[in-house]
Structures are given as structure tokens and as C-alpha cells.
Symmetry: C2
Subunit: 346 residues, 2 copies
């Protein structure tokens, strides 16, 4: 099998290292931003020339438009992402833009390769959904092409961010369960990797908010988190882990509907009924949650609006906007039959 | 919004028209196949030169490898396709190849644009899953790059095909329902469009097989088909249409699990229980079918094996194989709780 190595793309981090300055300084030079000394500008420009780094504007001018938007999806199985893609397609309808997608895969290395594949395909703009790579990688991409990041809460001068108010969403779920009378409420979600960003990602915010609301209600001793990715399989394993506790939780808040489906499988296997034995809630209000045989309490964050907005922001950047914006969707709770009052203690 | 037109890519059909020969003749010349007269070769080569058509080998030599495999997905929401993609990724693991994807969209025009977007991105090979465009378009792509088509049963000299034995799969379902005692068995599936291929596609084969098995059991008067795409929404509408019949069907065979989920929603809304009032079966044996709260009888066609095989065939073609192969998976029935004997007639 062919395994010839491609030459590694020169990154903004390489330029910064070569010039002995910060990546922020390089970004400023690239954007011709205010507050860069002439000496700094010279050093950075020399490093760019020596390394052959092709910043966004120059590269685009060289190649012309491709009328392609690249999208990074973390996982093809999550039924929330097609909602986002539908919104994006709706926004792009009537334009010449086509969407191409890559799947991020299970770890940061795979995600980095997937992002590189998009960049190499010379897309005109890129939408990264819940990326796990470090901020410097995102800024490197954003320095090369119009970039919108969905699901991160950190602002950047180089890219736009679109997210829902994950704090509010998680609060709505935990308060709903507490209001029903639950105290032993467990959470499935957020598994930080060693090379991944630790703050600002949607799953970390949901997990932190869960713990905060529990503490605010004097339930700190009941906090139980199964660290698991937002996949069906991880949700299954996470629920099995939580159900081994004694006493077991009376309610489980899974950080995503897909993980909740896995938890549902674990609950059924354990012979537990929902919500009589254990209440279960998810997040994303996917179409699966609405199926009457599942009827999962969830949080609606309107993926179509997020996708439409991301598309609009990308088109604006392609047309020349360089200032960064942040767009937040206000989520709402959709209570269904999977949550109810806890059974009386035996 | 930018709507500048790209120059249309010269196709194999253009070359054939210009040279006044068939597309098959052009393909033969491109492949240096046996049985082409020198005069024919000259005419085709002149047309290729005049139109600037870049056949696969020449184009690839010009640009070198991109180490990218392009995948056409009909629909991001269908939970069967990630099984295929998982198999493909497994096959490509350890190579430098990355997968980029496009979504085919609702009609042939959208699908054609999506395919063009992949071709324009200069992938090294392309996997088209259940494409709806006419054969000439597929052959046009296959003349330019290594191509594997999944879900079509028609052989081609230019591309490989991977499919399951859809006839056997559909037979297994209909015989299963007849064996349980059902006679009023309805089908949801196959909706031919005016510009689409009418034969050889998996959904047409499943629908035809359903009708054939019904006839073979003397049930031709009971044949009822709701023509609907393999989507949740179409399955929902299809089931509503079927439930308006009097007497209503006692069993529904949806051509795909995703359509069956839509049918399940319609059944629940109508206050009907599964399988007591209506039995329901799908196709694809997706993870959703296995969820115990859904427990859908379905047909397993092992998408991972299909994806791995498609990946292997693409790599072989990239390495130089030009002969065409066909790979068929033998499906099996997975009976679950959604099918049972019909209720005694009132």
C-alpha cells in the first residue's frame, strides 16, 4: 500500500517559532492589525518568506475560488449534526457553493488529519463542528481561510463562533430532574484527552454546569459522572458504570441524545424501566428523542438555526469580513415521558 | 451572493457527441480496449483534443496523487451509511488516504452537483453509494478516476459494484410475514424520478421482489405500495397513506430501517400498537433497529463488510487494476419484536 509522505504544511506555529514571536503576533501581522511594531512586522514577514508559508489571502488570490465549503463533523452517527447540515444547505441554496465533509474520528490525531484533508482540498471556507484540536490549530486554519467554529465558547480574533447556551441548557435539565424530586442524579459526558483543549468545549460546559447546579442544591455528595464521549457505545458503557453504584442513581442526564440512547440500552439490559426505575434525559432534541417509543426528555438548541447562521457567517467572511463575531442560541427544555418522579425509597 | 458560473466540465458524453460515436466507444478508446478500429480511435482522440477532455489517467498523471477518497452519501440521516463508512475507514487505516464526503441531496440535479464537487476536488478514487444519476454520468466519472458504486446491481466495464443480494433480503422479509399468517402486507419504498435510473437500484429491486413474492403466494390483490424515499419523513407519509386503506394492512415492510422509523411514528399517532395491530419490518439492521424500545425486525446486509470491500476495490483500482468486479453480500433476516402474527379478524 502507498504510504509516501506528503510534505508537512507550514503552519502559523512554525512561522511564530521561526520568528521567535507568539502566534498571536503572527496573526496580527497577517491581518495587518493595529499595534504591531515595524520590527515585529519585518521579522514575521521574513519568517513567512523563508518558510514558504501561504497565508489565507495570498493563497486564495493564487488559486481563485473553488465554491466549496468544508465541514468537519465529529461523528457521522450523531443525529444532531444533520440538523446543522440542513441549515447550512438551506443558507447555501441558490449560491454556487457545495459542501464537502470530513469525519473527525476518534482522537485528535485523526481529527487533525481530517482537517488537513479539507484544507488541502482548497475549500473557500471551513465550518468545524465541536473540534477537539488545540486553539493554535484552529487559528492556523483560520489564518488560511474563512473559518467558523461551532460548539466552542472561546472567542477568537480569527474565526467566528456559533454555539448554544450550554450552561442554560444543562441547568434546565438538572433543575427539571431536581424539581421532579431526584437527588441521585448522575451525568454521562465529557472525557478530556491529553492533547485536547480542556476548556470552552460544549461537553465540558455541560458537565461543569451539572456539577455546579448539584452543588447549589446541596447535592455535592451525589455528584457522579461517567466520563464518556457523546456516542451510543460510550453512553452504554457510561450507564453501566453508573448503575454499578450502590445506591444507584434515580436519574441520568446524558450530555447528548446519542449517548442517552446507549444509556437506554444499558437500562433495558439491566431490567430497569424508564422512568419508573430511572429517569433519563439527553441533549440536542434530535428526531430520535421525539420518537414515541423513545420519548426522551431533551434540550432543543435548534441545529438548523445554528447551521444557517454558520453558513451566513462563512459567506460574509468569504466576501471580505475580517472582524470576528459570536452567535449564541438560547436552548429550551423539551420534557417527554423518559423523566418522572423517582420511585419511593424501599 | 456570488453566483459566477464555472465553465462546465467536458464530459465523456460531450466527446462522444462531438466524435459522432457512442460513449461506450469513447470508453474503449480511453481504456485502449480491444476491438476499436484505427479510424474510430482517431476520431475519438481528435474530439478529446478539440474539447480539452482530460481522461482519468492523463489527468492523474498531471496532478499526482491527492491521497483522498471521495464518497457520495445519499442522506446523512440514514444510520446505515455510517456502517459503510466505518468499514471503509477500517480498510484505509494505515494508509495515507483520507475520506471526504458529499451529500447527494433530494434530487438528481443536486446529486450531480455533489458528484461534480467531488470530481473537482481531484480525489484519487470515488465511492458512490446508491447514486440516482443515469449510467452515463457514472461512466463519465469512472472514465476519469477509479470508481466503485455501492447499491447498484448493473455491471459496468468501467467501475466496480458492491451490493447485497436485495432480492434475497426482500424475499426473507415477505416470506417471514407470510409465514406469520399475514396476507395484507404493504410496502414502503422506491420512488422513481423522471431523470433517474429506473432499473438495478436497490430500492427498485426490493419493491419488485416484494410484489413478486406476493404474487407467488396468490396475494397479488393485496399488493399495496406507498412510493416513498428511504427517509424518516417519507416513511411517515407512506405509512399514513397505507393506513387510510380499508381494510388496512396488517403488516408493513419498509425498504429501510429509517423509513420504518417514520412508519412507527405514524402507527403510534394512529393509536396502533406494534405488532399487535400492525407488524413492521425494515431493512439494513441499523443500530436503531436493535434498540430494545424499537426492536425492529430487519435485514442484515453487513455494511462494514461492504465498506471494507469498497475500500479494497478502490485501492486496487488506484494501484492500476482496470478490469471490473462485482461483489455481493448475502443478507440475513433478524427477527425482533416488531413482527408477530396478525390479530384475528373482527
Amino acid at each position: 500500500m502507498a504510504t509516501r509522505e506528503r510534505p508537512r504544511r507550514v503552519t502559523i506555529a512554525d512561522v511564530a517559532r521561526h520568528a521567535g514571536v507568539s502566534t498571536t503576533a503572527v496573526s496580527k501581522v497577517l491581518r495587518s492589525a493595529y499595534g504591531v511594531s515595524p520590527a515585529m512586522r519585518e521579522r514575521v514577514k521574513a519568517a513567512i518568506e523563508e518558510l514558504g508559508y501561504r497565508p489565507h489571502a495570498a493563497a486564495r488570490a493564487m488559486r481563485g475560488r473553488t465554491f466549496t465549503i468544508g465541514v468537519l463533523l465529529p461523528d457521522l452517527r450523531n443525529p444532531f449534526f444533520p440538523d446543522i447540515l440542513d441549515g447550512l444547505s438551506e443558507q447555501l441554496a441558490g449560491t454556487d457553493y457545495q459542501v464537502i465533509m470530513v469525519q473527525g474520528g476518534p482522537d485528535v490525531t485523526a481529527e487533525t488529519r481530517a482537517i488537513d484533508a479539507l484544507v488541502d482540498r482548497q475549500v473557500d471556507g471551513i465550518l468545524m463542528i465541536a473540534p477537539r484540536v488545540r486553539r493554535v490549530r484552529l487559528e492556523d486554519v483560520a489564518a488560511q481561510m474563512p473559518t467558523v467554529v461551532l460548539g466552542l465558547h472561546e472567542k477568537s480574533a480569527l474565526y467566528d463562533v456559533v454555539h448554544d447556551d450550554d450552561e442554560l441548557g444543562a441547568e434546565l435539565v438538572v433543575r427539571h430532574l431536581i424539581g421532579l424530586g431526584h437527588r441521585r442524579i448522575a451525568h454521562i459526558g465529557y472525557t478530556p484527552g491529553s492533547r485536547e483543549r480542556a476548556v470552552g468545549v460544549l461537553d465540558a460546559i455541560r458537565a461543569e454546569t451539572y456539577a455546579r447546579v448539584m452543588r447549589e442544591h446541596g447535592l455535592q455528595s451525589q455528584i457522579a459522572v461517567a466520563r464518556a464521549a457523546y456516542t451510543e457505545e460510550a453512553g452504554y458503557r457510561g450507564a453501566r458504570e453508573l448503575l454499578e453504584r450502590s445506591p444507584r442513581p434515580t436519574a441520568i442526564f446524558a450530555g447528548a441524545d446519542l449517548a442517552a440512547l446507549g444509556a437506554l440500552r444499558a437500562l433495558h439490559e439491566a431490567g430497569l424501566s424508564v422512568p419508573a426505575d430511572v429517569s433519563l434525559a439527553g441533549y440536542d432534541n434530535t428526531r430520535l428523542a421525539a420518537l414515541s417509543s423513545i420519548s426522551l426528555t431533551s434540550v432543543d438548541q435548534d441545529g438548523a438555526v445554528m447551521g444557517r447562521t454558520a453558513g451566513r457567517l462563512l459567506l460574509e467572511r468569504i466576501e471580505g469580513r475580517t472582524s470576528s463575531v459570536r452567535f449564541s442560541v438560547t436552548p429550551s427544555l423539551v420534557p417527554r415521558r423518559s423523566t418522572g418522579p423517582p420511585a419511593p425509597e424501599a
